[in-house]
Symmetry: C2
Subunit: 325 residues, 2 copies
């Protein structure tokens, strides 16, 4: 049995109200009473029940995070940057890894709403989900379009795609393939592909897309990449829209005896801290993860406090110069 307010009150010889007042430091209290109550709380090792408070206050100080998986350097770093900022602002964090499964995402959404979270930060890359529409919960999306009313934080995907493609071309690549997820996902990240196409066309080169789904297993991705090499034997450049895929392309090239960057130039995307530490030689587009987290939390807090600012925030990217291009 856990200790509750009433137990403390009885031990201190006062009413529940008084204990509550001490707990919340509200109203008039004599020093003596405060001391008595504090002593009783210590003695019983009293911990207030947050659930009861939440019910009364209709505020939980809980924020839900829905992301594909934390087991990916980009999302891992993003969550690691979000969480302490939210904690500092007084929020605890629920996490849900949707693995890009719409059913799981829906389930999370329901659970989180049911748990009365005060807000949501969503970075999962899913198909349209009605549940987002029927709620006036404060939500912020990262790199994802949910609907017009939900603010989106993203990095400059068009610029990133442009920088990547131009760099490959500048270094002499002509047969450049972009690896990307399905277009059916509504994400600003598709601007990377648009930029790629635009730049290719501007240089009189033919754009080619090869599908690699983010949520495929490692084995399936690996087989797909091998197929890509078969399908495009004269390929001399790859723009992979995330670093893990870029690393797998590089690995496959090595297995096939293809020299990087001499025979094949590879550029990735994301450049999370841990990726840069493990594979600094990978040339890649660096997303400002920390700044994105900052913007997301800032915007969410604004929303929670009632400011109904609708906006899209686009943060700058830059090239991380490794040795793969």
């Amino acid at each position: 049995m856990t200790i509750k307010l009433d137990d403390v009150a009885k031990l201190a010889g006062v009413s529940k109200t008084t204990v509550s007042r001490v707990l919340n430091n509200r109203g008039y209290l004599s020093e003596e009473t405060k001391k008595k109550v504090n002593k009783a709380m210590k003695e019983l090792n009293y911990q207030p029940n947050a659930v009861a408070r939440q019910l009364f206050r209709k505020k939980t100080n809980l924020v839900g995070l829905i992301f594909p998986t934390v087991d990916n350097p980009f999302f891992g770093e993003l969550v690691a940057e979000l969480e302490p900022r939210l904690f500092k602002a007084g929020f605890k964090v629920f996490i849900g890894n949707s693995m890009n499964d719409p059913e799981k995402e829906k389930a999370y959404l329901r659970e989180l709403i049911s748990n009365q979270v005060d807000g949501l930060i969503v970075g999962a890359h899913n198909y349209n989900i009605d549940e987002y529409m029927n709620t006036n919960l404060p939500i912020v999306a990262i790199d994802r379009i949910i609907n017009k009313d939900i603010p989106v934080i993203s990095s400059d995907n068009y610029q990133g795609g442009k920088l990547a493609t131009e760099l490959l071309i500048k270094r002499g690549a002509k047969f450049i393939v972009i690896t990307d997820g399905p277009l059916s996902l509504q994400t600003p990240a598709h601007k990377r592909r648009q930029a790629y196409k635009d730049v290719m066309k501007a240089h009189g080169l033919e754009p080619r897309t090869f599908l690699i789904n983010f949520s495929w297993s490692i084995e399936k991705k690996k087989r797909s990449i091998e197929k890509m090499f078969q399908k495009f034997p004269t390929m001399d450049g790859v723009f992979a829209t995330n670093d893990i895929d870029a690393a797998m392309v590089w690995q496959t090239a090595e297995e096939l005896g293809i020299e990087v960057p001499a025979d094949l130039k590879i550029i990735g995307y994301d450049s999370a801290h841990s990726t840069r530490l493990l594979l600094p030689k990978l040339t890649t587009i660096e997303q400002p993860i920390s700044a994105m987290a900052e913007a997301a939390v800032h915007t969410l807090l604004q929303r929670i406090s009632g400011e109904n600012i609708i906006c899209e925030q686009v943060l700058p990217v830059r090239v991380w110069h490794g040795r793969s291009v």
Copy 2:
């Protein structure tokens, strides 16, 4: 204003009790009533308030996860493996990144207890924290000793340290340095160092430890590693107790013109999925992350359901053969 049970009851023309029964599928109900109520719930888009339920039931179906940071391939993968298993078992997940800050860990612990979590999985590597003692909350620790009553899941750290050291020696290294965190942390991972020492001594070699604290910044780690090379100019082997450090050692060696593995052999530890994808050439000790997550969840669920099994579970490790040794 949110829709509550009472609103549904009114619209359906029944009592709260009946709606609650429909919601929980309990007791006798006529088909007709069920239909009426379900219709009303749909119409109002009713979502039950989990907080109110939690207060009544004294069960939250919430589990807290306390880890240093999800922005590290090992912990990221661990959390990614824990979360879906807990979700499947009906639990939602709170996450707290302690960054090995005891104050933050204490704060999390208090918050989570206050939030009435049903259980805790702790993998943060901290100094002793009293708060763990004064609770009879079901807890499972990963690679960490909290007290005798708390089950520990770990991989076979002694065997890992032995395999690593023996491999370095077998390939001809003689001046082998281990990089490790401070001994003051109570973690079974210290057995890696013990195994290293034992094996070195058995081969008549002198063990040498170089401190690299997990929670140092990248820059500080980098400077430390550079110092290590200065301090031990004849070093020909490094056993890094995590892969990120191993990668940094390798990177520094390259900058200094030292050939790996010819002049310097490096072996890491952890071998998370994403690390293996990014840097498959790193020879390292592979922890069975998925099996550890499975064991942790299984044990926690047992504890939550009241079985008071005290146990230490040690799972096997193996060598990932890259090209750095």
